[in-house]
């Protein structure tokens, strides 16, 4: 409870938080219901009285510097992904600067792949990415399509525990649905988001899923991810606020429905794997 009181104290001092979200290529990378992630962040901010704004930046639109605290980059169909990939190269420097100065980013599937060094198609063609993540993806004939359950990386667990404003965090695992044929391999120094408990994850071979670079996260978790993983949603919100306000304590929300959705999905995943 001490955390809540501190959070309220901050507000009493007259400080109002605000958070600016940038949704990258929402018109082209919108295929797998990833928009729920944006809805979850907005909902959870508004419930707490955090001023939240959302801007959409797509092909041929410049990425303005020094505005955004949190980026979201979802998955799309192959054709859209190649159009986006080309445009992203032009935004690479600005986006990297954002991440290096502490902005948060969540990327999923196609978005995650485009932030890596390159994507090599089944036919051997190399499509360059922007190399934010020291990783690469190789096209395969296996479509990895199933529920995906992971346990978050150890250091991330601690951070999620401290960001989620409830004394009894039911779980630090993440549950979602993966649908990809590209196999992602991480560079030696790049940390995964977590380890696979059920499903394929990055490549179906080394039990890793996703990647972490500073406050940028990549993964294959559709679902949408954040609504039924409210601890990770709050962790991202906290990280995005931290850049401007230092460590923050979020007010707790009633997440019973979200955790029911989480637990049921975990139960179905475990039962079928």
């Amino acid at each position: 409870m001490a955390q809540t009181v501190e959070g309220l104290n901050l507000k009493l001092k007259g400080q109002k938080f605000s958070l600016n979200i940038c949704h990258l290529y929402p018109d082209l990378m919108d295929t797998y219901g990833d928009k729920g992630n944006i809805l979850a962040i907005i909902y959870r901010c508004q419930k707490r009285g955090i001023d939240v704004s959302l801007e959409e930046v797509s092909v041929n639109q410049p990425l303005t510097t020094n505005i955004y605290d949190l980026f979201f980059f979802g998955g799309g169909q192959d054709q859209a992904q190649s159009i986006v990939g080309e445009d992203l190269l032009k935004k690479s420097d600005v986006l990297k600067k954002y991440i290096d100065s502490g902005s948060a980013l969540l990327s999923i599937c196609g978005g995650y792949q485009l932030l890596q060094k390159y994507f090599q198609t089944k036919e051997g063609q190399k499509i360059p990415g922007i190399g934010l993540f020291d990783a690469y993806t190789i096209g395969s004939n296996d479509r990895m399509i199933q529920n995906l359950l992971i346990e978050t990386d150890g250091s991330l667990q601690t951070q999620i525990e401290s960001a989620y404003p409830s004394n009894d965090l039911p779980s630090t695992s993440l549950i979602g649905f993966e649908n990809h044929s590209g196999k992602t391999y991480l560079g030696k120094s790049l940390k995964p988001l977590g380890s696979v408990l059920a499903g394929s994850g990055n490549n179906g071979e080394d039990s890793t899923e996703g990647a972490i670079y500073k406050n940028a996260f990549g993964c294959y978790l559709h679902g949408s991810l954040l609504p039924k993983n409210p601890h990770f949603a709050d962790f991202l919100i906290a990280k995005a606020l931290e850049k401007n306000y230092g460590p923050v304590n979020l007010e707790p929300l009633d997440d019973e429905i979200e955790w029911q959705a989480h637990n049921k999905a975990v139960e179905l995943t475990r039962a079928s794997s």
Binding site: D27, L28, D30, T31, Y32, G33, D34, K35, G36, L39, A40, Y43, Q77, D78, Q79, A80, I83, R143, I145, Q146, N147, F177, N179, H222, G223, S224, P227, K228, E256, I257, E258, Q260, A261, N263, K264, A265, L268
Partner: protein
């Protein structure tokens, strides 16, 4: 004598008999068994149907359209039709077996087949189609079919070698479907909507086709009717919505879920009224009218058959329980669900029961519920109940759409949810049920306890 075929038919018929006396609704099983014995059974039996087949495929609307066509043509033809639901090869085989005698003669002179999108190439190869109706392609169960473009490419390959006698009936408003007109020698009939009250300058749903299917250039839209359907032009290669041979104008949607429109068939125009809601059904009506015209029906006969059509179970059906009523709308993908949401947003004080399953036939991936704009119903809903294997995912979705939701109204068991929702209903009020595909049967079963409704596998 073809021993293999004889055996396949005999065992298929035996299986049908056994299922009939056990009262089972497993209509595809006899066909599945028979195809194991004779993989060419469908091809062999289809060759004996003098008028060949009419194939209907597309993501949304194929069941309703196939039934509209069946009703329209059944006066003039003895038709074999997979009315009982299975739209894979096994379902076709089952329907053929039930109309065949032991030596393989079929008591039908025309076949009407509703075909699953992924099965279309095989069905074209096996069922001797004279007419092929392609309705639309939307994102649907990406876990089963992969992307929209993958399905479209498979269709394109399957249509390339059609003989020029075949009639291809295409939804010209869908660029993915209209693009198929470029690759075949078949006769073409195009249909679409011309109604400035329906068309909007901005898209309000999801766009499953974002670039030109022919050259990948940018598609410019003058207007949208539904999802990515509308009036489009490729800025690079000039591909555009073809001229419409058949179209609807002055579409008027009434509060009682009935619709009227002016149907323009070439030089003729006729006003029709029918008991189906929504723009998505207007497309189904147009597709079936195009078939009616192809089979030489008069506009008057087409209008009459359409007016008398009664909806298919689950695709908008009304059931009476005493003085309470229940309406059922199947939902299965974001565009289909968005259209149902649009129809319902005309109502107020809704009693809503949403049932989300994640079985194989529903799609294991439930992320599509986040692409559906439920927000339009949050202020129109008086009471919300939620059910299904993924009831809590649905509850989370609707919570984030700002519905007034109590966790006590979430029931994983479908039967319990229907009992609770109908009990809470006031007299003369209506419960609207939105089930996904595999929830339909349990809904029917639960409702049949309260009222006598037509079993859908016996319709």
């Amino acid at each position: 004598m073809d021993l293999r075929q004889y055996l396949a038919l005999a065992i298929g018929k035996l299986a049908q008999f056994m299922l009939k006396i056990s009262g089972s609704g497993a209509t595809a099983a006899p066909g599945l068994i028979a195809l194991k014995i004779d993989p060419n059974l469908v091809k062999k039996l289809s060759s004996k149907i003098p008028q060949g087949s009419i194939i209907i495929s597309g993501t949304n609307g194929k069941t309703t359209t196939a039934r509209l066509i069946f009703d329209m043509l059944s006066k003039n033809y003895a038709i074999v039709h997979n009315r009982q639901g299975s739209n894979l090869m096994r379902g076709i085989a089952s329907a053929l077996i039930s109309k065949a005698n032991p030596t393989g003669n079929i008591k039908a002179d025309l076949a009407v087949w509703e075909i699953d999108e992924a099965t279309l190439p095989q069905a074209i190869d096996s069922t001797n189609p004279k007419t092929i109706v392609l309705l639309n392609l939307f994102r649907d169960q990406l876990d089963r079919y992969g992307e929209v473009e993958i399905t479209r490419k498979k269709w394109q390959e399957a249509l390339t070698n059609l003989p020029k006698e075949t009639t291809l009936i295409l939804n010209a408003d869908d660029p993915g479907i209209a693009s198929l007109s470029k690759i075949t020698k078949a006769k073409m009939v195009t249909f679409g909507i011309k109604d400035h009250k329906i068309s909007r300058g901005n898209q309000t749903g999801v766009l499953d086709i974002k670039s030109c299917p022919i050259c990948q250039g940018k598609l410019d839209y003058k207007s949208y009717t539904l999802g990515h359907l509308g009036e489009y032009l490729c800025t690079k290669c000039g591909f555009k919505k073809p001229n419409l041979q058949l179209f609807a104008s002055d579409i008027d949607q009434a509060k009682d879920f009935s619709t009227s429109m002016n149907l323009v068939l070439g030089a003729k125009k006729i006003k029709i009224k029918y008991k189906l809601p929504g723009i998505y059904n207007a497309y189904n009506i147009l597709a079936s009218a195009a078939v009616g015209q192809t089979y030489a029906l008069s506009p008057k006969d087409i209008a009459k058959s359409t007016e008398n059509f009664s909806p298919v179970f689950g695709r908008f059906q009304s059931v009476q329980i005493g003085n309470k009523s229940v309406l059922i709308f199947l939902i299965k993908n974001p565009t289909g669900a968005n259209e149902v949401v649009k129809v319902l947003s005309q109502q107020s004080a809704l009693n809503l029961l949403v049932i989300l399953n994640d079985n194989f036939a529903d799609g294991r991936d439930v992320s599509w519920i986040w692409d559906t704009k439920w927000e339009a119903l949050s202020q129109k809903t008086k009471k919300l109940t939620i059910s299904g294997t993924r009831a809590w995912d649905m509850a989370t979705r609707l919570k984030y759409a700002n519905f007034n939701l109590s966790k006590n109204n979430v029931y994983e068991q479908i039967e319990t949810s229907i009992e609770a929702a109908t009990t809470a209903l006031s007299n003369n009020d209506t419960l609207v049920i939105l089930p996904t595909y595999t929830a339909l049967m349990p809904v029917e079963k639960s409702l049949s306890k309260y009222t006598k409704i037509v079993k859908w596998h016996k319709q």
